[in-house]
């Protein structure tokens, strides 16, 4: 999942950026409103976190520009301005959520995950594809009530495919959402991760849940277990 974080405080930007990366997200950082807007328009992000008081262009202005450009990312306003007027203004301007500083890291993370679920039309943090269950909040996976161990990247791919269940997801889409720009699109990182996921699933008896569609991408489908 790709997240854009626009924050003028270098310390906070660095800390939150690191935390989000550690949580498995692809994070783009921007220090002011103008560069933040450029980054938001340049690439698709699942969630954009915007500080309100930004140099150059403030958060509300940036939000207005994003809405004007019909950017469909989920937007979280993150600011020290706690007044009811500011919150109402932010939410009425099109923000999907509003979080006041100082905040708990876990709360920010939970809100980001919640926004991602909303983006993909999920009401619950738990995804069920047949006997496969994914808890996006706790980042845990079960197959027939047996927990499977996945690496953060593998979890992200499985979660993304689960969110897009029944739809073909191209390698490019997966790369854009789950990998940093630094990753070479021609590398076999995606194929390798998919291969690992399939192996772990097959070991537990859950095979053929992820299909490869030649020259198009991957498809996750809900299938009943043979056993």
């Amino acid at each position: 999942m790709r997240i854009l974080y626009v924050e003028d405080s270098s310390s906070l930007r660095e800390t939150i950026g690191r935390g989000l990366k550690n949580a498995g997200y692809i994070v783009t950082l921007a220090a002011d409103g103008i560069s933040g807007l450029d980054a938001a328009l340049e690439a698709e992000h699942d969630v954009i976190i915007i500080d309100v008081m930004l140099p150059g262009m403030d958060g509300f202005e940036m939000l207005g520009e994003l809405k004007k450009a019909e950017v469909d990312s989920q937007i979280l306003m993150l600011t020290a301005r706690a007044s009811i007027e500011d919150r109402v203004h932010g939410l009425e301007s099109g923000a999907d959520d509003y979080l006041v500083k100082p905040f708990a890291w876990k709360e920010l993370l939970a809100r980001v995950r919640n926004l991602i679920r909303h983006r993909y039309g999920q009401q619950s943090s738990s995804l069920s594809i047949g006997d496969l269950k994914i808890d996006t909040q706790a980042q845990r996976i079960w197959y027939k009530n047996k927990e499977l161990r996945m690496r953060p990247r593998e979890f992200s791919i499985l979660e993304y495919l689960a969110l897009r269940v029944g739809k073909i997801v191209s390698r490019t889409e997966l790369t854009e959402h789950l990998y940093d720009h630094a990753v070479d699109l021609k590398s076999n990182a995606i194929d390798s991760a998919i291969c690992n996921i399939r192996k772990k699933l097959t070991l537990e008896g859950c095979d053929e849940i992820i299909s490869t569609i030649p020259r198009r991408g991957y498809l996750m489908e809900s299938r009943t277990s043979k056993s």
């Binding site: 405080s9 906070l12 800390t15 990366k21 220090a31 008081m53 500083k101 708990a104």
Partner: protein, 505 residues
Amino acid sequence: MSRPHTSIQSRLVISLTTAIIALFGISTVGLYFFMRNAFYEQADKNLIRVAEDFMHETARTPDGGLECEFHELNIGEFQKGNYEGQAYYELRDHQGKPLIQSASLTGGEDLPHHPVAVGTFKTEALMLNGEIPGRVIYTSFLLKLEERVHEKREETSTPATLTPTEKAFADSYDENDPQNRVYLAIAEAPTELLRTLIILDSTLLVTGIILAITTFLLVRKIVLSTFRPLIEIAQITEQMGPDNLNTPLPEEQVPLELLPLITRFNQFIKRLDEAISRERRFSIDLAHEIRSPVAEIRSLMEVAADSVGNAHAEDPFNTYQRGAEISKRMSKIIEVITVIHQDNTEAIQFVSESSSIESILEHSIEALDSPTQTRIQFEKNEPKFKNIETDSDLLRAVIDNLLMNAAAHSPAHSKILISSQANGFTIKNTTTDLKESDLSLLTKAFWQKDSARTEADCFGLGLTLVTVYLRLLRGRIDHSLKDGELTTKVLLPSKHNTDDSSLES
């Protein structure tokens, strides 16, 4: 126990109405009594005339009898049940014994006997027959001898028509003898007068009621129209609250007497509104300044804790170092806010001592980082600085803040000019984004040209602090902007206890 609130309007209506009605009432009662007295006086005069006629027509006959030509007096006999123009009369001898009286009178008790002096008249009110109010006149006179006897006695020494007894009586008759004194009482029922007085009573009563109602309505209308602007102002004031102080009271139709009050009130409300807005802004800015570092330090610690064991986790040393930097910045903010607050409570200790502005300026310049020092151009004007009586620590804080401010808000390699005066100094630096309208905001707490706080060490309190310190030093600071150059001029009194007039340069 507090008294209940009363309405000035109601009190004024009641007071004015009462006062006017009282005035009219007193005047009316006065007029009534004046008229009544005039009527009675007229009635009494009539009675006196009747009495005089009575006296003129009454005489002693030569045979010792009494002659009264009543028919010539036109005094009607008083009849019970018919009082119209009727009268009593009663004549008593010198002993008070009735001689003649109206036929309707029954005895000596009908009209009281008042032995008044000869030729004097006394009038009083009386209930005639115990039924009807009337007037009575009392007088006394000396009975003359009958006219015809009198005339004959003077013409001839021996009147032929008189008997010897009569002649002897006539000759011996002394008109001044007290024995010939008689007392007259005539009473009359002044029905016409009484009717007039009743009409007067009724007219005055009805007029009084109409006058009272009209007065009340008129006074109420006048008071209402007079108080209307005040009531409107009260209604508008009633709607006022902390959230709508920006609506002033209307000054257009306010009475002249209230205008200064309303004008002052509006000025007060405007200042209050500005103060509330400033306070609100200050609180928001303060919250922002405190919340941001708190958010930074909290996130730093929580992310670090969450990343334990993660390959991409931050080096703990870096985390501690960053945490320490954030904490230091927070301390600085709190320290500055505390100082600003202390100014309000006048708790800052001021130590007056002989101080050299020149040396304080030099120390401040030395404390700057090398790149900034190279930008400083210090002109030490003649005559050389003299020492002044001031607090050198506070002055140092003022200069430090101003120099740091000049360095932070001017282009990287531009010059910062410092020049001296006998009792102050001037700092000039180029500025690219400051406007004339920004000058009044420079010293406001948390104000920064860019609302976002991009510089970690700048939080818009430096110049506020300078203002606070200079107020304590009884100094003055002026900012001016010309051709992109900001001039900051600081003037200080040569002695701390001198007033502001010493700051005139």
